[in-house]
Symmetry: C2
Subunit: 397 residues, 2 copies
Amino acid sequence: MSSNNNILIAQGGGPTNVINQSLAGIIINEKKEKSKILGSINGVNGIVNNNFITLNNILSKEITTLRNTPGAALGSTRDKPDQKYCEEIYNVLKKKKINKFYYIGGNDSSDSLRIISQYSIQKGYNLQCIHVPKTIDNDLVYNDHTPGFGSAAKYVAQLFSGINFDVRSLPGVYIGVVMGRHAGFLTASSSLLRSKGSDGPHLIFIPEFSFNIKEFINNINSVFNKYGRCVVAVSEGIKDKNNILYSKKIQSSNEYDDHGNIQLSGSGMLGDFLANEVKKKLKISRVRADTLGYSQRCFLGSASEIDQKEAFEIGLKAVSFSNMHRDSFSIGIEERKIFSQKYKVKFIVNKLTNIAGKTKIMPVKFYNFKKFDVTKNFLNYCKPLIGKKFPQTASII
Amino acid sequence: MSSNNNILIAQGGGPTNVINQSLAGIIINEKKEKSKILGSINGVNGIVNNNFITLNNILSKEITTLRNTPGAALGSTRDKPDQKYCEEIYNVLKKKKINKFYYIGGNDSSDSLRIISQYSIQKGYNLQCIHVPKTIDNDLVYNDHTPGFGSAAKYVAQLFSGINFDVRSLPGVYIGVVMGRHAGFLTASSSLLRSKGSDGPHLIFIPEFSFNIKEFINNINSVFNKYGRCVVAVSEGIKDKNNILYSKKIQSSNEYDDHGNIQLSGSGMLGDFLANEVKKKLKISRVRADTLGYSQRCFLGSASEIDQKEAFEIGLKAVSFSNMHRDSFSIGIEERKIFSQKYKVKFIVNKLTNIAGKTKIMPVKFYNFKKFDVTKNFLNYCKPLIGKKFPQTASII
């Protein structure tokens, strides 16, 4: 009897521009099932702290507005449940007679969900855990791409397109530091709105290929000699040949989150370091570095219309798939093999154990490590995801 | 005879998102006058280096695309002409029989124009110099506001609106460092898309009021205790009680441009310093600082439709006004006295000497220095300038 469903929704990890689209999709379809819908405030943290909100009474109009609102409307968390934490979650869910738990989150959140799911299986409690992916890093395996990524990619592309014209006006070297701990997808997206061969970014450095400061300087020098300017996109997650994070190399004190990840964003240190190196070595007077910061995942009004649509649909489909499958699962987007074909999206069911805790990186066919640039394959793969709502641009000099 | 007009157009200073709208306006109306239209590449620098482009042949379609392109399409410069430089400019303009020189620029550019204009009067050469304002800083006197500001203000407002929802999701302290050397208009614009009383930015620090780090920390502490989070907008131009730039206080080596201005943007140092102080003093674990960077003036697709329209019209009007006035002048936007009335724009003629080299700052009625916040007057003044193309937002917790 679907009317006996007690469902719980939570949002975890770094928010995105479209994470509330998925929330809206789940609420809308679970309402149709006459389920009792609870939301946990601040992800799994709200469960163990008994911090819930009833979501049945939200008006359709409110849901529509919520869909366009960045950030996680239920609040998020960086908590990573251990066995004890999972037991607490289990006790609360059982007490509240929850039989479906939707967790909208990324890598780390899906891992939390896997642990909770395994724990409830051990205890013999009938709980279906459904992972609804989101991450601006686009680093989930068995997924063509991840809701949230398209909008962040669009923001990064728009920013670098603007910077390209700005640096054409006042020539120099510009370094933009882009989010991405392990995967270079977002940094690579800086290329998506180039239209001329001389358009920047001229060089792209991603975490998947070891970063060498001499190579970095030499390549900037070559581009600068050719065009009189150089725009560079650098991932915050670049590593040296020993796989040591560059941010770690240059920082004296570091901050770590609960997952043991070093804090990369929210500091301009890497960009400043790289700009100073370029100034010192190349004697170029105008060298600027910007660290793109949190706006990459939340800038109001830059969401990709494709990403919005898919994030909403993945929420709707999560509900219909959950009624067709009894086990826990992660909903996903089927991987494309050929990227030059007309773009279309297909939702699939993945095993939680296949997704949880694993990290997808940029495939070799997407990056030319000799040119420090993306390939045509990457452009064909990524361009459809950011939509088409941009002004056309031109240059006359 | 208008068909004998030889006109020159140049763009100077930091580019904006709509500076090419003004360029397009001038070209379109001067084409109607059958003028011979030259463009100087990289502002006054192109004049002394004999680097020109003919603008008569640009197609209407190209002009339309150019209008939506950020950056200065003719290139810009930070050169500040001295007497010798002006003599060089004079010699070239006379040789090329230029009788109208449009310079699209800000404070510093209008000062360059004043010198060139005075120099040509001394020499008895018939040259009309027309200053067409642009600046994201909004710091031109005798102007209600300046083309370029509305789009930058919109970007800052969109960014802080997104950040507001992001920090609601993952609570902590967020500090955003905004462009603005002397005037706090752009930093104040971070407030424009707040809708609830609890929405951030909760605190706004502008260069017009001396910055005290203890006051800064204490106020963040109060807001954090009230809401469990705090979003702060800080101008890059904040100064201590002795009028010393905070950026200067904390930096060992500084870079200066040709106007003797210290480099503030393109470095994350101020934000990092402030974030570390908050962490140290308040023991709040999640403290993040972003330095908004160059995207404030060039982000593709965030131009305000009002700003675009006005920047285009000011170019058109510059031409028609130049045919009504024989002297050099600066075209402007008439100052409003009452900001709650329906917004409308009126273009006026200002004397070059009234504009050049002067800096407008935030009037006292726009800022509440006890609350570190903008006033209703500021919101009424500024909201019309950023247009209306935003998604509506909502929050449920």
